[in-house]
C-alpha cells in the first residue's frame, strides 16, 4: 500500500482504539506493511489534523497515536459531558511524582532521601490515580518495592515517552542565579 492508502486505514484504527495505538500494533493489523511506512503515514496524519485546525488533533502519546479534542474547546466539551476537571494533585504528590518520573525505578526510602520527608500518602495517591506502578523488588536488604511511572502518566502529562520530560538541569538556576 502507498502511504496515501495507509492513511485513512490508520486514521480509523487510531479512532477505534481506546488507548494510544502503537506502530507495532498497527503493523500487526496491517500485515505486510513496513513499520517505516506506517509511521510515516501516522505522522502525516498528525500534521494534517494540525493543519486543518478543526476540533480534533492526533497526538503522539505513550509511544502511540491518539485522537483527542483540542484544548481550546474544552469549555464546551466540559459543559456537554458535565465533567469536572479531575481533582488536582497536591504539591506533595506532584513533587513525589516528579522524583519518581526522573529517578525511576526508585524505592520509598530513596524518595525519602531526596525529598527529606516521607511520601507514603503521596505514593498511595499516585498509585490510586494509576500514575505510578510497582516495578518489582529491589535486590537489596529488605527487598523494598520499586516504583515507576505508568502509561497513564505519559498520557495525562502529554508525553510520548520519558525522554520528552523537560530537562531537570533547566530548573537548576531558578533561585541560584
Amino acid at each position: 500500500m502507498t502511504i496515501e492508502e495507509l492513511k485513512p486505514i490508520i486514521e480509523s484504527l487510531i479512532f477505534v482504539s481506546e488507548e494510544p495505538i502503537t506502530v507495532k500494533q498497527l503493523a500487526a493489523l496491517l500485515d505486510g506493511e513496513a513499520k517505516a511506512d506506517i509511521e510515516a503515514a501516522a505522522d502525516a496524519l498528525v500534521e494534517e489534523f494540525q493543519a486543518r485546525g478543526g476540533g480534533l488533533e492526533i497526538r503522539r502519546l505513550a509511544e502511540g497515536y491518539q485522537i483527542r479534542t483540542r484544548p481550546e474547546f474544552s469549555e464546551y466539551v466540559r459543559r456537554y459531558l458535565k465533567s469536572q476537571p479531575s481533582a488536582r494533585l497536591s504539591l506533595a504528590a506532584l513533587e513525589t511524582l516528579a522524583v519518581i518520573a526522573y529517578k525511576q525505578p526508585i524505592t520509598i526510602p530513596e524518595i525519602l532521601e531526596i525529598r527529606g520527608v516521607t511520601s507514603t500518602s503521596a505514593i498511595k495517591t499516585l498509585l490510586d490515580r494509576r500514575l505510578i506502578v510497582a516495578k518489582g523488588h529491589k535486590q537489596v536488604v529488605g527487598r523494598p518495592m520499586m516504583y515507576g511511572t505508568s502509561d497513564d502518566f505519559l498520557i495525562q502529562f502529554g508525553l510520548n515517552d520519558l525522554s520528552e520530560l523537560p530537562n531537570l538541569e533547566d530548573f537548576e538556576d531558578l533561585m541560584t542565579s
Binding site: E18, R68, R115, V117, F157, E169
Partner: protein, 296 residues
C-alpha cells in the same frame, strides 16, 4: 537573584504556591505549610536573600530553630524530619567553627555545607520539574477522547496486570472488612449478654481462661464489655480470678455454687447495673478513639 525569584514564583501553580507571610505572627500560622525541612530551608534562604552556595549557616540555623520553636508554641507536632535537619544544621555549624587544618591546602578543604547545598539544589530542581508537570497536566486535562463506541458496550471489560489483580484483591478485602464491621455494630452486644455468657461458661467448666474470653471479642467495644462484665461479677462475688504467675493467663472460676442459668434469667438488677456500666463503655470507646486519633 530577586528577578529569578519572581520568575520562579510566577511560574508556580496557583494552589501550590506556598503563601509566604509578611510578619512574624503571620508566618507562625503558615508553618505547617512547609512540607518538609528542605522547603523550610529554601524559604529561609530566599527570605534572607542569601546565596544558596554560601549559606550563612549560623544565621540560617538560628532562624530555623526559631521556626521550630514557633511550631511548638502553636502546639504543632514537629515532624521528626524537621528535628533531624536541625541536628544536621547544628553539626555543620560546629564544624564551621573548627579551626582549619593549616597543613591541608586551600583547594582540598571540604566545605561542611556541601552536602546540604547539593540536597537543596536537587530539591529545588524537582520542585521546578513538579511545576512544569503541573502545567502540562492542566493542558492535557482540557483534551478529551472520543465517546464510547457501540462496540465498546459489547466488550465492557478491563485489561489487567498482576498488580491490578492485587489491587482488586485488596479492595475486596477492604470491602469485606467494612462489611464485618457493620455486622458487629448491628449486633450491639450488651453487657448483660456478656455476663450471661461468662455464667454459662463457668457452669460448663470449672475454670475458664480470661485470655480466651478476650480473644473471642470481635471489636474493641466487645473487649471492653467483657472486661467490665468480669469486674462486675468479681464485685458481686459470683466469680474469682486466679493468676498462677505474673503476666500469666488469668483463670475465671465459680465462687458460689450456682444453678444453671439461661440467658433470660439474668436478674433485673444486674441488667440495670449493666446499663449503667454501658455508659462507661461508651466513654471508654470515646477514649479509645481519641487515643487512635493522636497516634502518629
Amino acid at each position: 537573584m530577586k528577578d529569578a525569584d519572581r520568575k520562579a514564583e510566577a511560574a508556580a501553580p496557583a494552589e501550590a504556591a506556598p503563601e509566604f507571610a509578611e510578619s512574624a505572627d503571620q508566618y507562625k500560622v503558615k508553618l505547617p505549610d512547609f512540607e518538609g525541612p528542605l522547603d523550610l530551608l529554601l524559604f529561609l534562604i530566599r527570605k534572607e536573600e542569601v546565596s544558596i552556595y554560601d549559606i550563612p549557616i549560623a544565621r540560617i540555623t538560628a532562624q530555623y530553630l526559631e521556626y521550630l520553636n514557633g511550631m511548638r508554641e502553636l502546639d504543632i507536632a514537629v515532624a521528626g524530619e524537621f528535628l533531624v535537619m536541625a541536628a544536621t544544621l547544628i553539626h555543620i555549624k560546629s564544624q564551621m567553627l573548627l579551626p582549619r587544618d593549616p597543613n591541608v591546602p586551600e583547594e582540598e578543604l571540604e566545605d561542611p555545607r556541601d552536602e546540604l547545598v547539593q540536597q537543596l539544589l536537587e530539591h529545588q530542581k524537582f520542585k521546578g520539574a513538579a511545576n512544569a508537570l503541573h502545567q502540562r497536566a492542566l493542558i492535557e486535562a482540557a483534551t478529551f477522547t472520543r465517546g464510547a463506541l457501540e462496540t465498546d458496550e459489547e466488550n465492557p471489560e478491563v485489561a489487567a496486570t498482576v498488580f491490578q489483580l492485587f489491587e482488586v484483591f485488596r479492595e475486596v478485602l477492604n470491602r469485606q472488612k467494612a462489611l464485618v464491621e457493620i455486622e458487629i455494630e448491628r449486633e450491639q452486644v450488651t453487657m448483660a449478654e456478656k455476663i450471661a455468657e461468662i455464667r454459662q461458661a463457668i457452669t460448663e467448666q470449672e475454670e475458664v481462661s480470661a485470655r480466651r474470653m478476650f480473644e473471642r471479642a470481635r471489636s474493641k467495644r466487645e473487649l471492653v464489655l467483657i472486661f467490665l462484665a468480669i469486674l462486675e461479677m468479681v464485685k458481686e462475688l459470683i466469680i474469682g480470678l486466679k493468676q498462677a504467675e505474673t503476666f500469666g493467663d488469668i483463670l475465671i472460676s465459680r465462687r458460689e455454687p450456682i444453678e444453671e442459668v439461661s440467658e433470660e434469667e439474668v436478674s433485673e438488677t444486674e441488667v440495670r447495673e449493666a446499663e449503667i456500666r454501658e455508659d462507661a463503655v461508651k466513654e471508654a470507646d470515646v477514649r479509645i478513639e481519641n487515643q487512635e486519633s493522636t497516634e502518629p
